[in-house]
């Protein structure tokens, strides 16, 4: 593609080309080499996958909104929207340099703040495209936390935590595993981020939920566990399906190359694991609770997606089914354990989905990798490395998150007042309810038939 063309583009003449140019353009593209096209295809693939990962934020938003109460819907949406927006900016200013800048001893990147000074680096696709893909990933890790600490955490406290996770916690882990750091040297395998993205989010969520404390009314005075059902299951289901859709970009795009032959099989292992986990979570809740539970089935689908993320490119289709089956079952047990035994209040199940299934998925590579997994005759060496990685990342994330939440708690406070929590964070933090027929709102003198709320449908 000639320079001239691009300039035309830039001056806004998109697709003009007209009568006068007729016949030129096709000849034009004739100049291009196979190598250039491959580079373009890799770039497009990375970007398209990045768009799909971006769209996952719509999924997170809907899941977290649907699985919490109506009175906190505006707040949880604001948290999600600010996570993607501020997360991307911070990852541009700081995080990317720490993740992918020249390494200081395999532990931390040191250059590339504002993407400046990386001219010499080659990421296989243009720097801006590579950054784009990594930035939407970073925001994903960050947004996991919002669900776990929902319905009681101050908006300002949450924003500050987002700054920390996207500038330090997450980028450092990326550096270790994907940035040429010590874990990658060890041979640690985390294809698309069961540990790097999901466990980082999940363990941060664990620390956050534990330090912020349970929602008022979640645990009775005698320790009874109370159910606080979400207010809109269809939102939750839509969110899960959007996430599942976006996950194809998340996993398949992590090749960062459209010409990688593994992409097809990554798509297949991803859908099979998610499907198996959905079925297994459904079946297990049916067995344990007497009826198939929708919120855990939906969580199960996500658990299966998180579980396969590390090994999407290295397990067989059959292996992915097993990874999914275990992930779905594990998810249900983990939710029960965290809620009922640990008494840590995680309204949307983020810790179980991202933390627990993320750790499991990473270990599962050591078991199911068709090249080096224990079950495929590869011995325990990969498994040991995987365990080391899971452990090291867990320690790091829990440490930093603990310090971060403590610090934030000290500076601005973590929690809204009990009155605000009971009334709802929407009015308290944002002055508005999610559903316009506001409680007693009388802002304008015109009545309307709120058919949406008419009490009798017969």
């Amino acid at each position: 593609m000639s320079k001239k063309w691009i300039n035309l583009m830039r001056t806004g003449l998109l697709g003009v080309l007209f009568w006068v140019l007729a016949g030129i353009a096709v000849a034009d593209t004739g100049d291009i080499t196979a190598g250039e096209i491959a580079f373009a295809v890799d770039t497009l693939w990375t970007l398209l996958a990045g768009f799909m990962v971006f769209f996952m934020h719509a999924g997170f938003t809907m899941v977290e909104t649907g699985f919490t109460r109506a009175k906190n819907a505006v707040n949880i949406i604001m948290k999600n929207i600010l996570t993607i927006s501020s997360g991307v900016i911070i990852f541009y200013a700081i995080g990317f340099a720490i993740a992918f800048g020249p390494s200081l001893g395999g532990f931390i990147g040191t250059k590339g703040f504002g993407l400046i000074g990386l001219e010499g680096a080659d990421f296989g696709v243009p720097l801006t495209g590579f950054w784009f893909f990594q930035a939407v990933f970073a925001a994903t890790a960050a947004t996991i936390v919002s669900g776990a600490v929902a319905e009681r955490t101050k908006f300002s406290a949450y924003l500050l935590f987002t700054v920390i996770i996207t500038s330090i916690t997450y980028p450092v882990v990326v550096h270790w595993v994907w940035g040429g750091g010590w874990l990658s040297e060890l041979g640690f395998v985390d294809f698309a981020g069961s540990t790097v993205v999901h466990s980082v989010g999940g363990w941060s969520a664990l620390v956050g939920a534990a330090l912020v404390g349970a929602r008022i009314g979640k645990y009775g005075t005698k320790g009874e566990v109370k159910a606080i059902p979400g207010h809109n299951i269809p939102f939750g289901a839509l969110g899960v399906l959007i996430l599942w859709f976006g996950w194809f970009g998340f996993n398949c795009g992590s090749t960062l190359s459209g010409t990688d032959e593994a992409i097809s099989s990554i798509a297949a292992t991803t859908i099979l694991s998610a499907s198996a986990a959905t079925v297994s979570a459904m079946a297990i809740t049916w067995l344990r609770y007497g009826k198939p539970d929708i919120s855990l089935t939906l969580n199960g689908a996500l658990g299966g997606l998180v579980g396969i993320t590390a090994g999407a490119a290295s397990v067989t289709l059959g292996g992915s089914l097993l990874v999914g089956l275990f992930s779905g079952a594990l998810l249900v047990l983990a939710v029960e354990f965290i809620d009922q035994k640990l008494k840590i209040d995680d309204p949307v199940g983020a810790i179980s989905v991202h933390g627990v299934c993320g750790a499991f998925g990473t270990l599962a590579v050591g078991l199911f990798s068709s090249e080096a997994g224990l079950f495929y005759g590869g011995g325990t060496s990969l498994l040991a490395i995987q365990a080391a990685g899971v452990f090291a990342v867990g320690i790091w994330v829990i440490l930093i998150s603990f310090l971060a939440f403590k610090l934030i708690g000290w500076v601005v406070g973590l929690r809204v007042s009990p009155e605000e929590e009971i009334e709802g964070l929407d009015v308290g933090e944002h002055g508005i309810s999610a559903y316009g027929n506001l409680a007693g709102k009388t802002g304008h003198p015109i009545g309307e038939a709120i058919v949406a709320n008419t009490p009798i449908s017969i």
Binding site: K226, Y289, S295, Q340, P455, I456
Partner: protein, 112 residues
């Protein structure tokens, strides 16, 4: 004038309304309520934790009528709303001191 207040199953509203309308009674006000009584609701699980569904959906209709119609209206509603199962609901009768039709200012029996 009396107010007849009946609480019954939402599934019976249409039948009750039709029965009343055949008897010539068209004025009524309906509210969606929830209630409990002998019918106790049940316990369900959400994410493995128990919660009780003990307030069940009902409808409440309020009809203000002349004293002499009370007996008959009660009978009509009773038979239209009845299933014979626990949870069928109740009818309560109250005295109304006066009524005013906003549109015309009419009062008393003329207003209803």
């Amino acid at each position: 004038m009396k107010k007849i207040e009946c609480i019954f199953r939402p599934s019976k509203l249409e039948q009750v309304k039709e029965a009343l309308s055949m008897y010539g009674i068209n004025g009524m006000t309906v509210t969606h309520v929830i209630g409990c009584g002998i019918q106790k609701g049940k316990t369900e699980l959400y994410r493995g934790s128990e919660y009780s569904l003990d307030l069940l959906p009902k409808v409440k209709i309020e009809i203000i009528i002349k004293d002499e119609l009370v007996r008959q209206v009660i009978d009509i509603i009773s038979s239209a709303a009845k299933t014979g199962q626990i949870g069928d609901g109740k009818i309560f009768v109250y005295d109304v001191e006066t009524a005013i039709r906003i549109r015309t200012g009419e009062t008393g029996d003329d207003a209803i």
